[in-house]
């Protein structure tokens, strides 16, 4: 008998089991939801039988959040990884602690704080914009952490070579470190999209559970994930089970497509890991 076959087969069985459970869930969702999906369901603007506004809200809110938080997360990571090579420094330690705390805080708690500040003090409406603010606060620590990991993955020998050629830290970061980390970063942005698109509780509080006839940044912004929750708990339609499942299928497909696209882009840009320096 080949050595290690037992551990190998146990791992295989467990993996197949996990995959089987996942596929069963997805299959039942598709079976229930797929018949309800139609062009009208996807693009119609009337809330009860279509998810056009929710689809738009999801794309706009997640998109805007990424536009805001990608540079913010990157800047945080660059400050921490490229400019402070002494992590014991107080400012960096504080920054990391804030980041870790925010990252592990339940998103609903983050949302309540944002609600208090944005809606309570600044009198913003419960809207798309407030939702974007909430998602940004949720996403910033996630992207900062991912970006820091990406930068840490860039071999130090690249930095040394660049500095030795007379490049400044900024030039080194822009000219060598970021290009080398780009593949990893892009893959992370795909993951962030998936994470944000699935966010529900935080948005129930800050973006609302309905949509307005005239789309606006200051109008209510129910997303796909919130819509699923809403029609399952508050919905009155006879068909609500199928509608929720159909929305779920759409959300899953959207996430799958985006994650796949970012993954492809990442590979085009040199892969998730900076190429190793093999010496042949």
């Amino acid at each position: 008998m080949r050595r290690g076959w037992r551990a190998h087969s146990i791992a295989l069985v467990l993996a197949l089991l996990g995959m089987g459970v996942f596929l069963a869930i997805v299959a039942s969702l598709i079976q229930e939801g797929l018949p309800a999906i139609s062009w009208r369901f996807l693009t119609g603007w009337s809330t009860s039988e279509s998810i056009g506004p929710e689809l738009l809200n999801t794309l706009v809110m997640v998109g805007m959040t990424l536009i805001v938080t990608i540079p913010l997360g990157l800047m945080t990571a660059i400050y921490q990884e490229e400019y402070h090579y002494n992590p014991a420094k107080k400012r960096v330690a504080t920054l990391s602690r804030v980041r870790a705390t925010l990252l592990s805080a339940p998103t609903i708690v983050v949302a309540l704080v944002v609600y208090r500040i944005a809606v309570g003090w600044w009198h913003w409406p419960v809207s798309v914009l407030t939702g974007v603010l909430t998602l940004s606060v949720i996403n910033w620590p996630f992207l900062a952490t991912l970006s820091a990991q990406a930068l840490r993955g860039v071999p130090d020998s690249y930095r040394q070579a660049s500095l030795a050629l007379g490049a400044s830290r900024l030039q080194t970061t822009r000219g060598v470190v970021l290009p080398a980390a780009l593949g990893f970063l892009v893959e992370g942005w795909g993951l962030a999209f998936a994470r944000l698109a699935g966010e529900s509780a935080a948005l129930i509080v800050t973006a609302g559970v309905n949509v307005s006839r005239h789309w606006s940044l200051f109008g209510p912004g129910e997303t796909l994930a919130v819509h699923i929750w809403y029609i399952r708990t508050e919905g009155v339609s006879l068909n609500r089970g199928a509608e929720a499942a159909a929305t779920g299928v759409v959300l899953m497909a959207l996430i799958a497509v985006v994650v796949w696209a970012f993954g492809r882009l990442s590979r085009l840009l040199g892969g998730a890991q900076p190429p190793s320096q093999e010496v042949r």
Binding site: A161, L163, A164, L165, G175, A180
Partner: protein, 253 residues
Amino acid sequence: MMAPTVRCDQLSVWYGRHPALKSVSLSVQAGEVLALIGPSGCGKSTLLRAINRLLDEVAHIRIAGNVWVDDEDIYQKGVDVTTLRRRVGMVFQTPNPFPFTIFNNVAYGLRLTGKRTQSELRRVVEASLTKAALWDEVRGKLARPALSLSGGQQQRLCIARALAVEPTVLLMDEPTASLDPLSTARIEDLMGQLKGQYTIMMVTHNLRQAARVADRTAFFAKGELVEVGLTRQIFTAPSDRRTEEYLTGRYES
């Protein structure tokens, strides 16, 4: 006699409280190859990194003493580190080309200074690759990724990258440590060609290499410069007992 290109006077370096270099005074003449030999951790690499101030990037470092490069006291206030590092090129122990194309690797240092026309870039890239004895192997393949080259070619590419910004001094930190004998021989040949045009300081653990390539050799132990002299003299008639022990493989630190 020409003025030395690199001169250290009472140079001491500490990592935190640990002394890495103890009061080293050393001159390197223009156009010569100086080999730095000695047991691991004796401060050779630290000395190299003091000369292009790459040590500045290390946390908790303390430096005392003076270093002159081309008559400029480089640890004086107001010295432009960028200009200094362009005059003092460096080649590292493991080939470390950027994950770009061959062309962009060599052009990187030139682009840092800003505007250069494409034709000027192309001219300098070709000249640098020719000087680094790599041009014949990569001609017509400049758009290929640098990481697709072999280890020895990568190291010559790194040398070309360093030469492209027209340094006067080249620091080489065990440049052949990770290469096979054939690639090593090619790098040594190349150093023979560069000798005279550049002032070269080379750290090496390969004593034969020091004997083959270097005009003068300096022996370091425990952060001290034990002795420095003509390579032939160091290898045949060292004046210090420690040098002799090291050369005959009996040195114990």
